[in-house]
């Protein structure tokens, strides 16, 4: 137990972000402690012949308005300033940690009472309370810092109480109790190691606040004038600041140095303990954006979606029968993807998740894009919309939509295309509506922005659309917020949104995966009807072969970011060429998970029907 802890401690102080501010602080503390040894000048001796002298003449930093040696005062003042701050810090830490543990461990009543006291303490600006205390007690560094300590205790109380409460949730405290460990043992062995990081961080921050408030009080003239502190030095020098700025500069520098070191230390500790929230990741050099997780198709850099190196033989075997069916007449083709590669920035390298996909989508067809999770289906769909996740980009190949090359297109050209010519249905209805806007307003917005409809026109059209997608009370849904409608309703809303500007191409990314089975069938019927009545071309991303068989004209099978096989559904499912397609189909027919190499048993010819209901 001791060895790793010691190792951690050494590692902690070896990080320059910790070591440098810690060393600066140590130097300041030492200089204050050794003030008498470092300078022979008396901090309080007034040299009346040498008022406000500049640096030199036996006074390294000059003298102040009373002719006292600034360097000596600066070093000696450090004692009182640091001592005061330490007093406040210790008071706050003891009260806060003990109170936090108490509140975390004990009954609701205790917790509520302590929380109320904390709220009371935080209700007033600290300085107002300190002013009131000063009025009652008079000028006293110790009293002021004790009061400040009480006021700052909530900073510790909150992190400790929250940590302990979270631990209780995790039950292992109860488990430890059952195992007969005493409260004290639980405290030392389990709780303190966990709250140590947050406590250290709070300590650095409260220390900075204490230094700054202590100096502030003295600067206001509320401190004890007989004790030199950085704050009283500032206060003295402030009156002559117009003519003599230097005496103000020195104490300012000391205060800034200490506060900045403590803030840097808090930051570095936060990083070292891995507590850097995104909002507070102050000094971290990385632009802190978490790579996003694309729902059920996590072809994101976090999970390698296939061998990034040279393709392994199995893949080549899969590809052996070159993607089938000759290119159709260009006039029939709406979308042509050639050699599409998509990569995500992972540190310094780019990791490919789509390794050269060829796809031809004909006008008016429903084209299924199938494959297991991580095959790169969704990333292909995002790439053609120009909406790859953070860090993602097209690293090769072309996407030609109706004669326009999309991979090179500027964002403002893509914006004109999206919604109006290419629609998109996402897979998770629950997270794909803006939570702070009503359903109606977010459906109307594209109609007004892209098609220039008036408010009333947009409203009428949206209400008609909501009715069309099978919502029985469109007015109510229109006025609802997303959290007020069910998942099935939300998916219908998203479908309405996707077709609202009459796109020629609709990209549906697993549109039914998140829905109940009964709702799935209804939504698929709706998609089929909408496609027929609007003569849309649909790319249906799915891992459900039954859906493909039911709905699609043609199908492309993907695996590991590559296209395995493509062709009319009847051909591909009836006589699959690629071994992987056979595996998929066999898995569905056997109603069993995909297995290793198996005998390719092609289903009897003819178009498989909806009986292929399983998923892969």
């Amino acid at each position: 137990m001791t060895a790793p802890r010691a190792r951690r401690r050494t590692r902690l102080f070896r990080a320059p972000s910790v070591a440098v501010p810690a060393a600066v602080l140590l130097l300041v503390i030492l200089s204050a402690l050794l003030a008498s040894a470092l300078t022979s000048a008396d901090p309080n001796r007034a040299d009346v012949n040498n008022l406000l002298a500049g640096p030199g003449h036996g006074h390294l930093l000059g003298t102040d308005a009373a002719g006292r040696d600034i360097l000596s005062r600066l070093l000696h003042a450090g004692r009182a300033s640091l001592y005061g701050a330490a007093l406040a810090l210790i008071t706050a830490a003891v009260l806060g940690v003990v109170g936090g543990l108490w509140a975390g461990f004990h009954r609701r009543a205790v917790r509520l009472a302590l929380t109320w006291i904390v709220e009371l303490l935080m209700a007033l600006p600290g300085i107002v309370v300190l002013l009131a205390a000063r009025a009652a007690i008079g000028p006293s560094l110790i009293a002021a810092m004790l009061v400040l300590g009480v006021l700052a205790a909530p900073a510790f109380f909150r992190v400790v109480a929250a940590s302990v409460a979270a631990l209780r949730e995790e039950l292992f405290v109860d488990a430890a109790r059952v195992n007969g460990l005493s409260d004290r043992r639980i405290l030392w062995r389990h709780i303190l190691p966990l709250v140590r990081g947050p406590i250290l961080i709070q300590a650095a921050m409260v220390g900075a606040v204490a230094i700054s408030i202590q100096a502030g009080l003295d600067f206001l003239g509320l401190g004890d004038p007989t004790v030199p502190t950085w704050g009283t030095m500032l206060s003295d020098a402030f009156t002559t600041m117009g003519q003599h700025p230097l005496p103000v500069l020195w104490p300012s520098l000391m205060i800034a140095l200490v506060c900045l070191s403590l803030a840097l230390l808090a930051n570095a500790l936060r990083d070292e303990f891995g507590l850097g929230g995104r909002a507070g990741a102050l000094a971290s050099a990385e632009p802190s954006i978490v790579p996003e997780n694309d729902g059920a198709d996590p072809a994101s850099p976090a999970e390698p979606a296939g061998p990034a190196g040279p393709a392994d033989p199995a893949d080549l075997a899969d590809r052996a029968p070159a993607p089938v069916t000759g290119d159709p007449d260009p006039a029939d083709t709406l979308l042509t993807i050639r050699g599409l590669r998509v990569g995500y920035q992972a540190g310094a390298t780019v990791r490919d998740v789509v390794h050269g996909v060829d796809l031809t989508i004909r006008r008016g067809e429903i084209h299924g894009l199938v494959g297991e999770s991580g095959a790169g289906k969704t990333q292909t769909a995002f790439a053609l919309l120009g909406l790859l996740g953070h860090g993602g980009r097209v690293t090769g190949g072309t996407v030609e939509f109706d004669g326009t090359e999309l991979t090179e297109a500027a964002e403002h050209d893509l914006v004109k295309l999206r919604g109006v010519r290419i629609g998109y249905i996402p897979q998770e209805p629950g997270v794909n509506l803006s939570p702070t806007a009503t359903v109606g307003s977010q459906l109307c917005e594209p109609l007004r922005v892209r098609l220039g409809l008036s408010r009333a026109e947009a409203r009428d059209r949206v209400l008609a659309l909501l009715r069309r997608v099978g919502l029985t009370d469109p007015e109510r849904v229109f006025a609802s917020y997303p959290h007020q409608i069910s998942g099935g309703m939300a998916q219908r809303v998203l479908i309405a949104g996707a077709v609202s500007c009459d796109p020629e191409l609709l990209v549906a990314d697993e549109p039914t995966t998140a829905l109940d089975v009964t709702v799935q069938a209804e939504v698929l019927d709706l998609l089929r009807d909408l496609q027929a009545e609007r003569a849309m071309t649909v790319v249906l991303v799915t891992h459900n072969l039954g859906v493909v068989a039911d709905l699609c004209d043609r199908v492309s099978v993907m695996r590991h970011g590559r296209l395995v096989e493509t062709g009319p559904v009847a051909d591909v499912f009836g006589a699959p060429r690629a071994p992987y397609t056979r595996e998929l189909l066999a898995a569905v027919l056997d109603d069993a998970p995909v297995r290793g190499p198996l005998d390719p048993v092609a289903p009897a010819g003819g178009r498989p029907t909806t009986e292929i209901g399983g998923t892969v």
Binding site: A123, V128, A136, A256, P287, T436, R450
Partner: protein, 313 residues
Amino acid sequence: MTAYVARRLLAGLVLVLAVSVVSFALMYLSGADIARHILGDNASNEQVHAKAVELGLDRPLPSRYGTWLNAALHGDLGLSWTSGETVTSALQTRAQVTLSLVAGATVVSALLSVALGVTAAVRGGWLDRALQAVSLLGIALPGFLIALFLVSAFALHLHWFPATGYTQPSDSVGDWLRSIALPIAALSVGATVNLTQQIRGAVLDGLGQEWVRTLRARGLPFRRIVLRHVLRGAAGPALSVLGLQFIGLIGGTVVIEQVYAIPGIGQLAVGASVQGDIPLVMGLVVATGILVVLVNLAVDVAQYALNPKVRLS
């Protein structure tokens, strides 16, 4: 909604009462010879005793608090021991100055932090890192150091603004603006930095949401989505921080007013504190408490208007 506001007001009232009881008790129980303190060392014991009786110091503490509370509920916070002025009028004449500083700083930091936070989150890269580094300075440095720096740079060296003093807006609006510009700037730094961090984080969170992609897929420009949808989501947490910052700004004015010699509540508070003017200090504490309760309530109500999911309970 009305019930919620009423409940919160009641809770706030309890809080202010508790604050007044605690501070009343602490101030009168501190053991200082208040009458002696007021009259000075030269006064005779008889004079001191007469003064103590005059101030009611001979009566038991609960009865004194009862008298104070009864008067306070009728809008009478007593007389200042040093100036003889009523506490309420002393507060009133200075409130306008301080509130204009605090309100100005609130507006400035809200506007700046939205611009900076959104830019940092959306642009990222060196701009974000530079803002992070600057904000560390803003967080670490005490307000009075920033104020001193601004005075020496923009008043003493560049002479763009007066170093000290306050001009009434009724005298000259231009001079009034010039006189509050530096104090507001000094006050705003801390609040701006904290708010910027909050907004940056919330916008980053928002940008990672899938609905952003879906709205983009419907042809809405990215900028519009950020400003109308993502920022709206970020506004809730930012508003909470703004509420906290407002309390911090009230505290901040105490020091800032001293640096810039502005006759506001802060200066009054420092004077009252040094002179041990208990009625005035009590009035300040209670007035601040009421202001804080009202600001928190306003934040909660605005929160409700911004985020339909917030259930007021």
